[in-house]
């Protein structure tokens, strides 16, 4: 890299470069004093410049300083975020505890009742019954219930947080402009990347770690579709609401939300499915459930274990999708225009 050295030399920066060079090693080519031809000149990247002048940092210093920076702000971040997110931990812990300690002969009928209530379809209820008998029979019932409990908590919270954000976006163009890029980012980030800052922030055994990862990933559709649904409400109806003197609140509650409901429910359906996708990956950070079995299958090359757990996840996905889609269709049916 003698060529870049020449540049530093000619700029008279040699002394500044060598200040910290006391313990630096010389490469073989430097020792030999090889001259390189101009076409072999590498791009002046941090690493290459560092070789010519050790006062310039290397690329690994960049990542290392990010890390130290993150570690430096971690205590103060935790101070704020820990109490804020603690309810999530409790919600997950207690829901898991509640559903896993409830005996199967009470919980399975309860789930079937809820299914029948929201879908009004005995066909779907029957399908769900078959699936749970299957889980019970192959001793995967507890894992499935753990997975379902996590999805339940995360979906409820996503809906409670996501719908107001969606409403805000639909009412306020500035908010929409600001939030849309964030949603785009949350949706395009590879799922593993979510885990990285969270692992730094929280202890890996804390439930809120995976709870947050799942929620960040799965809240996007409910926000987007609430926003879209409210923006798509027929302008004639909004005009009628205004002409009869409705307040903004009356209009929202009586006109906009009911008419956007099919879209909002489609968002909730997507949120449920994305929670399921994420809960498997979240088993990397101690989320219990079927994901742990998949992970076990991968880590220990236990093909059968991984395969059965994977199949169980597919079964869960099918019943969750059927239930939420049938409930959605029922709403659509009663709101034909």
């Amino acid at each position: 890299m003698l060529s870049y050295e020449n540049i530093f030399d000619s700029l008279g920066l040699r002394e500044w470069c060598d200040e910290s060079q006391a313990n630096s090693l010389m490469s073989l080519s430097q020792l030999r004093g090889d001259k390189i031809e101009w076409w072999e000149l590498p791009f002046p990247s941090l690493d290459n410049l560092h070789k010519a002048c050790s006062a310039i940092p290397q690329t690994r210093d960049l990542t290392a300083s990010l890390e130290t920076g993150f570690l430096a702000v971690r205590p103060s971040l935790r101070l704020v975020l820990d109490p804020l997110t603690q309810p999530l931990s409790w919600a997950l812990d207690y829901t898991l505890l509640f559903f896993t300690t409830m005996p199967w002969w009470a919980l399975v009928p309860l789930i079937l009742l809820v299914t029948q209530f929201v879908t009004k379809s005995s066909r779907i209820t029957f399908l769900v019954a078959i699936c749970f008998v299957f889980f019970l029979f192959i001793d995967h019932y507890t894992y499935a219930i753990q997975t379902l409990s996590i999805i339940f908590v995360c979906t409820v919270l996503c809906t409670l947080i996501g719908i107001p954000i969606g409403i805000l976006m639909s009412k306020n163009d500035a908010a929409q402009r600001m939030i849309t890029p964030v949603l785009d980012m949350l949706q395009t980030l590879p799922t593993f990347v979510y885990l990285i800052p969270l692992i730094f922030l929280f202890k890996i055994t804390e439930p809120k770690l995976y709870g947050l990862a799942i929620m960040f990933y799965s809240i996007v559709p409910v926000i987007r579709l609430t926003n879209l649904g409210i923006r798509l409400v027929d302008k004639n109806l909004i005009e009628a609401a205004d002409a009869y003197g409705m307040t903004a609140r009356q209009r929202l509650v009586n006109v906009e939300i009911p008419l956007a409901l099919p879209n909002i429910m489609a968002g909730v359906n997507q949120t449920i499915m994305m929670s399921l996708a994420m809960v498997v990956i979240a088993s990397l950070v101690s989320a219990p459930g079927l994901g742990t079995l998949v992970l076990d299958g991968i880590n220990n090359l236990r093909l059968g274990v991984g395969f059965v757990a994977g199949f169980g996840i597919v079964v869960l996905a099918v019943i969750l999708d059927r239930i939420s889609k049938t409930a959605l269709a029922r709403i659509d049916e009663s709101r034909k225009i």
Binding site: D234, N236, L237, E239, A240, D242, A243, Y244, G245, M246, T247, Q250, N254, V255, P258, L259, S334, R335, K336, I337
Partner: protein, 348 residues
């Protein structure tokens, strides 16, 4: 009711509406009398309403008529400020509603005005009854009493038995009757009807017009009715306003407009009309004349067509015209037939 001069309910003064990026700075051009095409070409602004001055009379049906793009729907939306004017005054019982704040404006819309829409605008997730009760629900009234009132109006518009149906289960004509019942249940003194009958097929449209006239006989509401259909306008209007390209071409009693159109545009408009059916004897007769008549007396409010039938087509007859027991003039069949000649041909 046409003999006493009615009170002005709403009066619109010097109302301008310009759509575009910077409407306020366009105003001086408008005061100078720039026309719509010129304005669009020079600045890209669309002139929707150009110096509108109209009076809307208490207890009468005012029909605002114009072709599409004439600004009639925009104009009616100014009366409850669904659209804000660029400049001008809208006086209601003498108060300028442009001075109203959010609260007063909402009170105005809740209590004093109701509206019927071209596309019905019924809430698809609510039953017919719930739709009808929209105004009392918005006002937060006692539901029991409101329901009684709503059911009464639904019965009045022949929708008894459909209270629990959803709008999508009804035909277009029935849906608009729900729209009408909703407006009537609000008990507002002013009713805005934005092309309320335009989306209906002709037979149903006629029956809705008859229904409206029947209701109006008892209610005497101040109705502002928008239409692009001259027959409908002549049938319903006590006071007719004709709009073209955002300005008022002529306004007045429909009979008067028909007999004395002030503008070639209106002449063209009225040329296709069945004058015999629309013109009333009252507008054609000789007032207070003491001529001798060959036959008995006829009512002032019958149409020329009816009179011709009464006279059995005999052109030599003449009649006394009476209204409410008093003789108010005379008419000869010759005058009747003269009145049937189209204005543009009469004055060639």
């Amino acid at each position: 009711m046409k003999t006493t001069s009615p009170n002005v309910k709403i009066s619109i003064r010097k109302l301008f509406k310009v759509f575009g990026e910077d409407p306020v700075n366009i105003l001086p051009l408008l005061y100078d009398g720039i026309d719509k095409a010129e304005l669009q070409k020079s600045s890209g602004h669309v002139l929707a309403l150009n110096n509108i001055n109209i009076d809307i009379f208490d207890g009468l049906i005012t029909v605002i008529m114009g072709l599409s793009g004439s600004g009639k729907s925009t104009l009616v939306r100014h009366m409850n400020r669904l659209i804000e004017p660029t400049s001008g005054k809208i006086l209601m019982d003498g108060n300028d509603i442009m001075d109203y704040g959010e609260y007063e404006l909402r009170q105005l819309r809740q209590n004093r005005m109701s509206m019927v829409f071209q596309k019905f605008a019924l809430m698809p997730h609510q039953t017919v009854l719930e739709n009808t009760l929209m105004a009392p629900i918005v006002r937060g009234e006692n539901l029991e009493k409101a329901t009684e009132n709503g059911l009464r109006w639904l019965k009045r518009v022949d929708l008894e038995g459909s209270e629990q149906a959803y709008p999508h289960q009804l035909s277009g004509g029935m849906q608009q009757r729900v729209g009408l019942a909703r407006a009537l249940t609000s008990n507002a003194e002013i009713m805005l009807m934005d092309e309320a009958f335009s989306a209906l097929d002709p037979l149903i449209r006629t029956s809705m017009q008859d229904l409206l006239l029947q209701l109006q006989q008892d209610l005497h509401k101040t109705i502002i009715h928008i239409t692009h259909d001259l027959d409908e306008a002549l049938k319903l209007a006590d006071h007719l306003v004709i709009l073209k390209d955002g300005f008022v071409v002529q306004q007045g009693e429909p009979q008067h407009i028909l007999l004395k159109p002030s503008d070639p545009y209106i002449e063209e408009f009225v040329s296709d009309i069945n004058r015999a059916r629309v013109l009333k004897i009252r507008s054609v007769m000789k007032k207070g004349s003491r001529r001798k008549v060959s036959h008995g007396s006829v009512n002032a409010n019958i149409s020329l067509e009816t009179l011709i039938a009464i006279a059995e087509g005999d052109t030599s007859r003449s009649y006394e015209v009476e209204d409410g027991g008093n003789t108010i003039g005379t008419i000869s069949m010759q005058e009747v037939f003269q009145a049937l000649v189209r204005y543009d041909i009469q004055h060639k």
